[in-house]
Structure formats: structure tokens, C-alpha cells
């Protein structure tokens, strides 16, 4: 396990090499949160409500998904496709290291950085703006939110990895990814709360894995789901995680058969 810890640590170190880049990245994150915050603050005045969401729960939903997406939807494994095409993958196949865990460790290093800075920034913003946000105090919901986020980031990791594995068969790994990213944000509830959609469509969404990436964790946090809904959701996440794992492993094995270690 030590090796994967080292990978995570090196990823962390690497981020600090380009300090300006890192600072600008954080500024971008803060600006994004601020614009969303003021937009929705203006859309729903105090006391009013929209689609059954009052001001504080809608603000919490929007800001919460943006925070969760910065944790869940940040994965460096998009580089897998390029590594396959450039032949760089060979470096890993030649060493006794698990390629999945390697990328997962890189993600962990990356996410740890993002989480720590997000918490600092949010605390500062909270003190300055004193926003009317919904604060969950029950540790039961907080714990389940955490569990849901862990499933979400593993599922997203597999999705991203799978898109990278296209590289075994085609050098064109970017086009499918762009389509995926656009669809994902909608299906995962990054644009608006999904339960304002018609019931039928929403229930279809619920059987897909995307809902569990953003919408589900934030709804648990808001305390708007029943215990049964939460456990059903977690079971569905678990099943999807396993299914994705099996697919990724299968595609990876098939890919290695046709891998040509080209380029170098």
C-alpha cells in the first residue's frame, strides 16, 4: 500500500510546482461559487420558494452540488487514453504496480488538495457573507452523505477510466469524453434539482448511475430523503459500482490483448 501512498504524495507535491496555476485554479473555484450564489439569491427572495425549494435549501443544493462536483468530478484518469496512445502505458505494465490503483492514488492526492482548500475558502466566505444556508447537524445524515460521496467518486473514476480505455482501439478519445461530460452534468443533477422533473422521467434517472454522483449525496445532506430511499439509493450505487468495476476490468483485459506498445 505504501507505493500508492507515495503516488498520492507525489501528485500533491507536483501541484505545488506551479504555484500561480494552482492559485488561479482556486480563484476560479471561488468565483464560480460566488456567481452561482448571487444568481440564486436573486432568483428566490427570502420567504419565497421555487419548485418546492425555499431559498436556503435551493442555495444549499446549488452550492453543495458545486462543492461535491469539485470533489467527485475531478479525476485525472482522463489521461489514460493519451497514455495508451503514446505508449507511455508500457512504463506501468513493466513495473509491479496496479494501473487502476495508481490512478486512484493520483486522484486521492489531487482531491485531498481540493478538499482542504475548498474547506478553507468556504469557511472564509461563510464568515464574510453569512449566507442563509441549510446546516445539517445530525451526524447520521452527515455520515451517509459521506458514504454516498465515496461511492460517487469511485463510480466516476470507473466512468472516466472506461472512456480512457477507448484509446486501445482508437486514437480519438476526446470526442466521446466531451459528449459524456455534457450529458453527465445534466443527468447527475448539476444544473438543477432532478426531482423537479416529471415523475416518470425522474424514476428512469434513478435507476441510472449518474443520479448518484451529485444529486443523491446532496439530497441526503439536506435531509429530504427517507431512510428507505437512502438505503435503496446506496444499494443501487453499490450495484452500479460493482457492475462498472467488472466492465472496466473486462475492457482492460481485452485492451491489453490488442495493445501494441507503439510510439516508442
Amino acid at each position: 500500500m505504501n507505493k500508492y501512498f507515495s503516488v498520492a504524495r507525489l501528485t500533491w507535491d507536483e501541484t505545488f510546482v506551479y504555484r500561480l496555476n494552482f492559485v488561479m485554479w482556486r480563484v476560479r473555484a471561488v468565483l464560480q461559487i460566488l456567481t452561482l450564489y448571487f444568481l440564486w439569491l436573486a432568483l428566490i427572495p427570502t420567504g419565497a420558494s421555487l419548485f418546492g425549494y425555499d431559498q436556503s435549501s435551493m442555495l444549499t443544493y446549488i452550492l453543495g452540488t458545486s462543492l461535491i462536483s469539485s470533489i467527485v468530478l475531478s479525476s485525472r484518469s482522463y489521461a489514460v487514453g493519451d497514455e495508451i496512445n503514446s505508449g507511455n502505458l508500457s512504463n506501468f505494465l513493466l513495473r509491479p504496480i496496479n494501473y487502476f490503483l495508481y490512478w486512484f492514488a493520483r486522484d486521492v492526492g489531487d482531491k485531498a488538495m481540493n478538499i482542504i482548500f475548498s474547506i478553507i475558502e468556504l469557511t472564509v466566505l461563510f464568515v464574510i457573507l453569512k449566507p442563509p444556508l441549510f446546516i445539517q447537524t445530525e451526524s447520521f445524515y452527515l455520515l451517509l452523505t459521506f458514504v454516498a460521496i465515496v461511492f460517487a467518486l469511485i463510480m466516476y473514476f470507473f466512468f472516466n477510466f472506461l472512456l480512457g480505455l477507448i484509446g486501445f482501439w482508437s486514437p480519438e478519445v476526446w470526442a466521446p469524453r466531451f459528449i459524456f461530460i455534457i450529458l453527465l452534468n445534466f443527468f447527475a443533477g448539476g444544473l438543477f434539482p432532478l426531482d423537479i422533473l416529471p415523475k416518470f422521467i425522474f424514476s428512469v434517472f434513478q435507476s441510472l448511475p449518474f443520479t448518484y454522483l451529485l444529486y443523491f449525496p446532496i439530497k441526503i445532506y439536506l435531509g429530504q430523503l427517507t431512510i428507505i430511499e437512502i438505503f435503496t439509493g446506496i444499494m443501487i450505487s453499490l450495484v452500479w459500482t460493482l457492475v462498472l468495476y467488472i466492465i472496466v476490468q473486462y475492457v482492460w483485459r481485452k485492451g491489453l490483448l490488442v495493445y501494441t506498445a507503439q510510439g516508442r
Binding site: N2, K3, F5, S6, V7, L10, D13, E14, V17, Y18, N88, S90, N91, L93, L94, R95, P96, I97, L256, L257, V258, Y259, T260, A261, R264
Partner: protein, 324 residues
């Protein structure tokens, strides 16, 4: 037997595209594939501690063979065993005992000092600290980069980076080494250093080494045994000396003349002659050497005379030509 290969084949599917717009559209709708036989039914075996040179023109199948041996590629047919493992299964015990050095691979973390990559490899290969420190100081002293270990990789020169890559590749003291064009891009001094290093490594660790190179000097100075590959097939496997004897049963007699001589006179002395005053080169069969030298000394105004083996490059070229 450390490495044994029997009837190994590797075919690639290559997609063909006709030129022009029509060709592009055609290839979008219905791709044409062509099977390329990169390696076609080759067999050989190598014992522990051997240092073998693979020779062949570009695209002969040398690198593909090494990729199969190191487990990067699944063979299309045949059996391979390296250290009693099947390479493509990529078992932990197998991977910790091999290294594949390619001339232009980069596993170093670009923005971080090379030492960080070495330390990561220490964890990956689970090398005990004591052994790691010994290996690192041995390698970095020999390659003269011990002062650069803490410099970010992107600030290093190409040669320095190559040396760091080499250290990263060898830090786990592999028993079997595949070197694909290891001297590519290095200056003459460094090439010599690297050759010394490979020879030394082979002796000290009793490592089995396969080397491919375009520089015949690499092969000549390092390998007793050579395997010549062309178009995916082995056309010679044996000692370098044997190759020379078989394909070059002649020597070169090089003469420097004191003054110019008419070409007619030269013709009577031998058939295969290159002449550009004052240098004169005879191509003489081994059994006629002494006879010819005696004749030359008698009949020509000689300043200097030497007898040489033909260049390895020429012999190899002859081998390829006789194949076609």
C-alpha cells in the same frame, strides 16, 4: 535456461488508408486492415549471464521481440518463458526481476527531482532501504549524476535525463535486462561510458542482457553472441566470431604507396581492389594472405602496410544481401 522462445509469432493489424478525401471517407465507413507479420516463427534460448546482441534493420522485429519477452505484448503464437514465467501474465515476481530500457522512454516525473521517482520505485519494487541506497550510490556515481539527484527533471539536459531514466530502470537490480537502443542520443564519451557500465553490470550481477542497437560498435564491444533478424525471421544466431568467419572469409590489406603506380600493374596483383592514391585496399581470401603480402612487398613501393578484418557493418550488409 533464463530465456527460451519457441515458434514465437506476433502479427499486427494495421489499418490502411488511401490518400485523399475519398480515401478518408472510405476509411471512415469501411476500414481496410492488413496483417503485418512483425515476428514470424522465431526460436532461440539464452542462458544466465549471457549478453546477446540483436541486430537488424528498422522494422525487422527486434523491438517487437523484446516487447513480447518483457510481457508488454501478447504473442500471436508460440511459447515464451523468461525466468520460468510467462511474460504476459506479468506476475509480481517476474516484474521485479526484469527491466526494459528503451532509448526514449520517460517514466520520470517531469516537474519533480529525479530522486522522487527513484523513491517511488523503491516503494513499487519494495526495495529495502539499505539495498536501495547501495544501488542508488553505485548507479549515480558510475553515471556521474550524483550531484543532480535533487534537480527537477525538466531542468536536466537530454543526456542527464537519459542517465536518470537508466537509474530509474535499474534501481531494483534486475536479473534480466532488455536494452533497446540504449545509446541513442548520447555523445561519444557517454556511449563509451554506457558500454562500460553494461559490461560491468553484466559481470557484477551476473545479469542476462539482450541488447539491440544500430551502432555496431555497441554490439561488437559487448556481445559475444549475436542474433540477426530480418523481416521477422532469425537469419543468424551464433558467435560474432563465427559470423565473421562464415560470411567474411577474407581480410583487407591496406597499403600506402610512396609514389603513384600504373593501374595495370595493380591488376596483376589481385582482383578485388580499391585504389585512390596513395591508399590501396585489397580484398584477399584468408588462405592467400601471406602469398599476396609477399608479392606486394616485392613489387610495390610501399610506405606502410596493414592487414584488417572487414568492418562488421559490411559483413552484416552482406548477410542481408545474401538473404534477398
Amino acid at each position: 535456461m533464463v530465456i527460451s522462445v519457441s515458434h514465437l509469432s506476433k502479427y499486427y493489424q494495421v489499418h490502411k488508408k488511401e490518400p485523399g478525401l475519398v480515401g478518408s471517407i472510405k476509411s471512415l465507413v469501411a476500414r481496410q486492415y492488413e496483417k503485418v507479420k512483425a515476428v514470424d516463427d522465431i526460436s532461440f534460448s539464452i542462458t544466465e549471464g549471457e549478453l546477446v546482441g540483436f541486430i537488424g534493420p528498422n522494422g525487422a522485429g527486434k523491438t517487437t521481440t523484446l516487447k513480447c519477452l518483457s510481457g508488454l505484448l501478447y504473442p500471436s503464437g508460440g511459447e515464451i518463458s523468461v525466468l520460468r514465467f510467462t511474460p504476459w501474465e506479468r506476475k509480481y515476481e517476474f516484474l521485479t526481476q526484469i527491466a526494459f530500457v528503451m532509448g526514449q522512454r520517460n517514466q520520470l516525473w517531469w516537474d519533480l527531482p529525479a530522486l522522487e521517482t527513484f523513491l517511488l520505485n523503491k516503494e513499487i519494487y519494495e526495495i529495502p532501504t539499505k539495498r536501495f541506497n547501495e544501488a542508488l550510490s553505485e548507479l549515480s556515481t558510475f553515471l556521474k549524476v550524483d550531484s543532480l539527484l535533487k534537480t527537477p527533471v525538466r531542468k536536466l539536459s537530454l543526456g542527464e535525463r537519459m542517465k536518470m531514466e537508466l537509474i530509474a530502470n535499474l534501481i531494483h537490480s534486475p536479473k534480466v535486462l532488455f536494452l533497446d537502443e540504449p545509446t541513442l542520443g548520447l555523445d561519444v564519451v557517454m556511449q563509451q561510458n554506457l558500454r562500460d557500465f553494461i559490461r560491468e553490470y553484466n559481470k557484477r550481477h551476473h545479469a542476462t542482457i539482450i541488447l539491440t542497437s544500430h551502432y555496431m560498435k555497441d554490439v561488437e564491444s559487448l556481445c559475444k553472441r549475436v542474433v540477426i533478424i530480418n523481416l521477422g525471421k532469425i537469419i543468424f544466431d551464433g558467435l560474432l566470431d563465427t559470423l565473421v568467419k562464415q560470411h567474411a572469409p577474407y581480410k583487407l590489406i591496406r597499403v600506402i604507396l610512396k609514389r603513384n603506380v600504373e593501374e595495370n600493374i595493380l591488376r596483376t596483383l589481385g582482383r578485388d581492389i580499391k585504389f585512390q592514391y596513395p591508399e590501396l585496399i585489397f580484398n584477399v581470401p584468408n588462405e592467400k594472405i601471406s602469398e599476396t603480402v609477399a608479392k606486394l612487398l616485392q613489387q610495390l613501393p610501399i610506405e606502410d602496410i596493414t592487414i584488417q578484418d572487414p568492418a562488421i557493418e559490411d559483413i552484416i550488409r552482406e548477410v542481408f544481401n545474401s538473404e534477398q
